[in-house]
Assembly symmetry: C2
Homo-oligomer: 214 residues x 2
């Protein structure tokens, strides 16, 4: 033991910085290996640090994963709410929301999308994720309610909820597709989603098409 320490090629860094580096590494490794197959050793190595540091700063493997989930989730939410204005017409709101969403996923392909896939499958995290999804469904539902109010119509709560769920689900699916196709264009994907969701298949087939305002 007591080997001469490796030449101090890398400087010491304050905790906050290292934590971010670790989270970056963790997201990378979790996304390419999956939660269980990812080893703490690999994460530590990828972060350019040794394992006990990870335990010291971010705690156990589960806690680390939760931290990843939390950071990425927050970023996504912020990206979306930053894009969508509150008192715009519903189609414009939806369009901006989708645009922000797919833009974000496109910029964080391997990071976010696969992390999402992970959380959905692994038992302990399903809860944490579904909370986030609930929030998105809430947002979409609210939007739909607003649109309905403007029309003077009403729809049963359940139907609305499920519709919002379908919308969110379809978006997640296309996000997966986007994450797997590096050449695909986020904006184009958003436009396609918009057409599917807003105009509807039947009217799409009749030639009706929604498009972004010029």
């Amino acid at each position: 033991m007591a080997r001469v320490t490796t030449s101090p090629t890398f400087k010491r860094l304050p905790r906050a910085v290292r934590e971010q580096q670790m989270l970056d590494a963790a997201v990378r490794v979790f996304s390419r290996r999956g939660f269980h197959a990812a080893s703490m050793d690999e994460i530590a190595e990828d972060a350019g640090i040794s394992k006990p540091m990870v335990y010291a700063y971010l705690g156990t493997k589960e806690e680390l994963f939760i931290a990843c989930l939390h950071r990425e989730g927050t970023r996504l939410m912020e990206a979306i709410v930053a894009g969508v204005g509150a008192d715009l017409p519903p189609d414009e709101q939806l369009w901006r929301g989708l645009r922000a969403f797919f833009g974000f996923v496109g910029a964080h392909r391997d990071g976010w999308a696969v992390l999402y896939r992970q959380a959905r499958a692994q038992q302990p995290f399903a809860g944490a994720l579904s909370t986030m999804r609930e929030r998105m469904v809430e947002v979409v539902s609210a939007m739909l309610v607003q649109a309905l109010a403007a029309e003077g119509r009403e729809v049963r709560d359940m139907d609305l909820q499920v519709m919002a769920y379908a919308l969110v689900g379809a978006s997640e699916s296309l996000a997966d597709w986007l994450a797997d196709h590096p050449d695909a264009d986020p904006d184009k994907t958003a436009t396609r989603m918009m057409n599917f969701a807003w105009v509807g298949a039947a009217h799409l087939l009749h030639g009706e098409t929604w498009h972004a305002a010029p």
Copy 2:
């Protein structure tokens, strides 16, 4: 060693039967634990058999999982193609397809849905699953092409593919929802999906509604 064998409460069974029991158990355990957290011991115990039997009949853990995936996937596909007639009008085709799909998921809640979630997340199986998904997208695409031909229209291949993808994705999402809500009714879910997919949000909001033929 050489303990007196446990009283032969359970008879010896032919291979084919035991294999099915093992697959049943495997689906149950994989779905409630996730691939990695599931142990071969637990699967064996759940099947009422000892571990080496599982290895003898179905092979390694990965192979076992693939076998589950294969059986469930085949069943689903059969359920769907059995339901949908080839030369019906497109909306009727879609409706029957959705009905069959949600009916199947409703009947195999914990089994199929969670298994699907697993395969999507775990590295080695993503391929096997995506093959199946491709087939479904193919089917849906073909249906859309047929519908378009009837209208004398044309759409770029890419757009069509992505639309089919969105449709399949939205369905999978609602299937997840269905799997998590034991009280929900599969047919009702199918109807909601049909409304979302066929009529489109915009026209739904204007009061237009698709419904099953009486």
